[in-house]
Symmetry: C2
Subunit: 356 residues, 2 copies
Amino acid sequence: MAFREEDTNTADTAADSNATVQLQGERNNITIGDVAEALGVSKTTVSRAISGKGRIGAETRKRVLEYIKKNHYRPNVVAKGLAKSKTYNIGWVMPGDSNVSDLPFFQRCMMGISEVAAAGDYDILISMVFDRDISQLKSVVKNRKVDGIILGRTLVEDEGIEFLKESDIPFVVIGSSLDDDVIQIDNDHVKACRELTSIVIMKGVRRLALIGGSTNHVVNLTRRKGFESGLREQGIAVNQDLIYMDCEMDSAVERAVDDCLRNQVECIICTDDRICHSVLEKLERDRVRIPDQMKVASFYSSIMLENNQPAITSLHYDPKELGVVACRTLFDYLAGKEVQKKVLLGYEVVLKGSTQ
Amino acid sequence: MAFREEDTNTADTAADSNATVQLQGERNNITIGDVAEALGVSKTTVSRAISGKGRIGAETRKRVLEYIKKNHYRPNVVAKGLAKSKTYNIGWVMPGDSNVSDLPFFQRCMMGISEVAAAGDYDILISMVFDRDISQLKSVVKNRKVDGIILGRTLVEDEGIEFLKESDIPFVVIGSSLDDDVIQIDNDHVKACRELTSIVIMKGVRRLALIGGSTNHVVNLTRRKGFESGLREQGIAVNQDLIYMDCEMDSAVERAVDDCLRNQVECIICTDDRICHSVLEKLERDRVRIPDQMKVASFYSSIMLENNQPAITSLHYDPKELGVVACRTLFDYLAGKEVQKKVLLGYEVVLKGSTQ
DNA sequence: TTGAAAGCGCTAACAA
DNA sequence: TTGTTAGCGCTTTCAA
C-alpha cells in the first residue's frame, strides 16, 4: 500500500536566487615569532612563558602572558605537534554497519570520550569501519593523524585489532577481546547476565531460553557465558538446544521463538534489545501474553524497548562512562603510566513487568 | 515496579589477573630525507616524484616511487600540512543534546561526509555542541585543527553560525539558515511539506492540525511554512489555532492532541517522528482509531515510526546525500570554486495506511 | 634567567 | 631535469 512519489529534481537550486559565493582572502594568524619580536624577547622565552616549563623570570612571564591575551595569540597546535611528535588527536573507530538501535550507544560513548579528550586538549578524529573494510582506520593510522585509538566494538576475528597490533600504535578497545594483549574497557557482562538470569530463576522459572546475536561479536559470547553461569548457579543444567545464537535476521528470531513455544519455554532472554524487539513482535502476533504465558528479559536495553507494554526487565549500562574510562586509560597509557589491561565497569539490573 | 539493584564496584578489575601494561619504545618512521639520501637525490626530487608536480625525469620518478613502495614510506601528512597551511581535516559539528531519534540522521550524514572526505584524503574531526555551549567548536577552530566546518543543524539564533562567521573559517551548514550569507545544504522541506499536505487534503480532509517542535529549529519553521502553503494551495484558510508549535515535552503534545480532538480535527500532521510517536501513543491511550477517527502523517520519519500499525504516511529524505553534497560543496569552496549558496535536495512522499 | 640555533618533515621559490 | 635554500610555527638542547 505504499505509493511512492519521488521528486525528480534531486539537486535543485533555491528558487529565489542562483546566488553563488567564492572564497577569498587569507586568514593570517599571529605567531610566536611576532610575539617575541613585539616584546623584544626570543621565541624561546615566549614558548617557556606559555608552557610553564623551563626557568623564566616572573616579570617576563607576566609580560608575555599579558601581551598574548591582549592580542589573542593562540599557539598553532599543528606546529607544536610536529615539534613534539604528537598530533593531539585520538581516533575513534565506529562501526558503520551497526544496527540503528546501537547508534545511541556509540554516540554516548563518544560523548564520554569527547569530554575527557577536550579536558586534555585533544580532539577526536573519527573513522568508520565496516565488517570487512577497515580502510579508513588504516589511513588514519598510516597517515599518523592520531596519537592513539579507541575502538568502539570488538569482534571475534577483528581485523581492526589485528591491524592496530602490528602497526604498534597505542589503542584501547571498548568491549572485551579474546586477545589478552589488548587493553579492554567493558562492562562486567558475565556478572550482570549471571545475576539477571539468577533473579529470573529465583522467581520460579525453570525453562529458560537464550536468543542471541552474531557469535562474531565478543559481547554476545560474554553474555551467553553469563547466562549459562546463572543457570548453573541456580542448579539448572544448561540445555544447548534452548540457546539460539546468530539470530541476525528477524526470520531467525521467529524460528527460535516458535521453537521456544513448542518446547514449553517459560522465559526468553535476549542478548540485546534489537532481538528482544523482534521477539516481542513475534509473540504479539502469536497472541502470547507477557508475562502470563511467556516471560521476557533482555541483556541490553536502549530506546527500542523503552515504551513497551509491559515494560521489559533488562540490564542497563552507562555507555558514556565506558567512553570516559576508555579515554582516560588511553591517555594514561600514552603518558607512559601503567594501566590495567582489563577494566570492568558496573551495571544495573532493572526488573519490570515482563518477568513478573 | 522498578526494582533497581546497582552494582557497587563500578570500576573493578578483571578477576583473573591484575595485569597491567606500559607503553614502551618509539615508533620511528622513515622520512623524505631518508628516501632522498638512500637514492642519492634531493628531498625536492622525492617530493616532486610523489606529488607529481614540477618537472622530473620519468626514470628518476620511477626509481623514487619504487623505493618508496618497497620501503613502505608514507609522507607525514601533518608536516605536509604545516608547510602548506592545511590540516587535511574538516570539522563535523553534531548537536550533543539531540533526541535519540535524531541520532541516526546525523550518523547517516556523517557517513556521506566521511565518504567524500576520505576520497579527498581528508579526515573528520568531530565536535559536539550543546544548546548554549559551543566551546568544543570554538576550540577546534581557534586551534586551527580544521580547514573547514560542516554544521549539522541550524537554529534560529545559532551561536555556532555567529561564531563561524566572525572567525571567517569556511563552513557550510546542513539545514537552512535565515542568514543568507551562509552556504546551506538542505532538503526542499517547503515543497515536500506542501505536497504531502496537499495530497492529504485531496483525499477529502478539510480540518488539519500541525503539531510541531521547537521554533528555535529552522527546520520546524520551514515545515510549518510548507504546511501552510499546502493548505492555501488547496484553498483552505490557515487556522493558527490548529498549529501547535514548541511541543518539546510529551505533555505539550498531549494537550495539543486533546485540543485537536475537541476541535473535530480530521488529520494531525507532525513535524517529526518523535512528536508523531508521542501523538500515536496518546491516540492509542484515548482509543482513537487511525485512520477512521483520526488521520496522522509526519513530515519526517526514522526508525521510530517504522513498525507502527497502521504504517504512517510521511516524508523520506536521504541524510547521507546531504552529507555527500555538503562535503563536496565545502571542498569546492575551499578550492576557490564558485559554489551555490543554497542547494536543495529531493524527498519522497510515502503514503501509507494512516491517511487512508 | 635568557637566547641562538638546530630540528620536527615537508613544500616551494629560485638557481643551476 | 635537478638541487639549494628558506620557511611553515613550534620545541628543545646547549651556551651565554
